[in-house]
């Protein structure tokens, strides 16, 4: 019965910097069918009711990571959240928590992108190989050590779930630290020492207080809390082992 059209109230936290000093709630009545996501509800508003509503989206299939927002107070991908599950409403939609609101549901991601660049999110080969030497080989067990952490789509839902990030946005945060671990845990990578500087810093893993909500909201089961907390152990080892085996001491 996907064709049956019902209607639901959607309240959106609007913020137009040229128009208001602080965000305000605006209510829309949205016709919807059972197969419609929250994102499609917003598109209905934009196309048929109010073209000034701003939000980000791209793939509509939970892989681009663009459409993250707070749906009834929880960080969600709006393309993956269905209006039928939010009845009777009203549904309250707000920009991702802990990020500055740029306009309506659009947040500033500048700091997140800066952090992403800072961790060198690419393989730094242990030893350079020529094409003739062939590919870098890896066993299934070695793959298993980092595979889940490579599923991150940078949707930043984990940041909206992390109160430590909300309280201090200098914290590198769950998503970027999980990606950092993805490379450090890769048997082909040799960049660990450079990345440990990020891990060991005050803004690194030690700013995490193991709230654990990041792993709950992650739509890709990356489990950032696992990456961050096992790196507390790595960071502690890094600190104490330098007395035993100083750098360059072999």
């Amino acid at each position: 019965m996907a064709e049956t059209t019902r209607s639901i109230e959607i309240e959106v936290l609007r913020y137009r910097p040229e128009q208001e000093d602080a965000p305000v709630w605006q209510r829309y009545t949205v016709p919807f069918t059972d197969d419609m996501s929250v994102l499609q509800g917003l598109q209905q508003i934009k196309d048929d009711q109010d073209g000034s509503l701003s939000f980000r989206w791209s793939c509509r299939m939970a892989i681009c990571g663009s459409c993250g927002m707070m749906v009834d107070g929880k960080p969600k991908l709006s393309c993956q959240t269905f209006l039928r599950d939010l009845l009777p409403g009203p549904v309250r939609i707000e920009a991702l928590a802990h990020f500055p609101i740029e306009r309506d549901l659009i947040v500033s991601v500048d700091k997140f992108v800066d952090k992403l660049e800072a961790i060198k999110p690419y393989l730094i080969p242990k030893e350079p190989r020529t094409l003739a030497q062939g590919e870098y080989l890896q066993t299934p067990a070695q793959l298993q050590q980092y595979e889940q952490f490579s599923s991150c789509i940078n949707c930043m839902l984990c940041y909206a779930a992390c109160p430590q990030y909300g309280l201090d946005d200098k914290f590198v945060g769950p998503g970027v630290l999980a990606l950092l671990h993805r490379y450090n845990a890769d048997s082909r990578d040799g960049g660990r020492e450079q990345r440990m500087e990020v891990v060991n810093a005050n803004e690194g893993v030690w700013s995490c207080t193991a709230v654990g909500y990041c792993s709950v909201v992650c739509p890709k089961h990356v489990d950032p809390a696992h990456a961050v907390n096992q790196n507390k152990v790595n960071s502690a080892k890094d600190y104490f082992l330098r007395f035993v085996a100083p750098k360059g001491g072999g």
């Binding site: 107070g73 802990h98 193991a210 909500y213 907390n229």
Partner: protein
């Protein structure tokens, strides 16, 4: 709150306040409850520390401390502390798998629940051993 940076264009990112953040989601409330149990651990450490100080002050002081422990208020406090300790231990054993690298045994990844259960089993064994030792030492 001055949230508008100096600029020429209409841009002015709005930063939402974090006041009362822990009441925003039941998950955060449970987190705060877990963090509160740390104070129970601190409180019990103080109780034990007072015992050590009283021991150094002679037999009368030591016996006074032992008597104080038997008062109804002290028993009530100990019940509260014991429950808090149980919550504290439970929450930490739940986090334990997250602090370890991915364990693979016989090609299979060890489930988080298994690691948590191993933690509990070790605790129960250690507690039983300590209890037996104390019991044996008394008689």
């Amino acid at each position: 709150m001055n949230h508008k940076p100096v600029g020429t264009g209409p841009r002015g990112p709005y930063i939402r306040p974090m006041t009362g953040w822990w009441k925003r989601d039941p998950f955060f409330v449970r987190y705060m409850a877990r963090e509160l149990t740390a104070f129970a651990v601190l409180a019990y450490a103080v109780v034990l520390l007072v015992g050590v100080v009283r021991l150094s002050q002679g037999e009368a002081a030591w016996n006074g401390w032992l008597m104080a422990l038997r008062s109804p208020w002290s028993l009530l406090l100990h019940i509260v502390l014991l429950v808090s300790f149980a919550v504290h231990a439970k929450s930490w054993f739940e986090i334990m798998p997250k602090t370890m690298p991915i364990l693979v045994v016989g090609g299979q990844r060890v489930a988080e629940a298994t690691i948590t259960r191993v933690g509990w089993a070790a605790t129960l064994l250690a507690s039983a051993a300590l209890f037996a030792l104390a019991w044996w030492g008394q008689s």
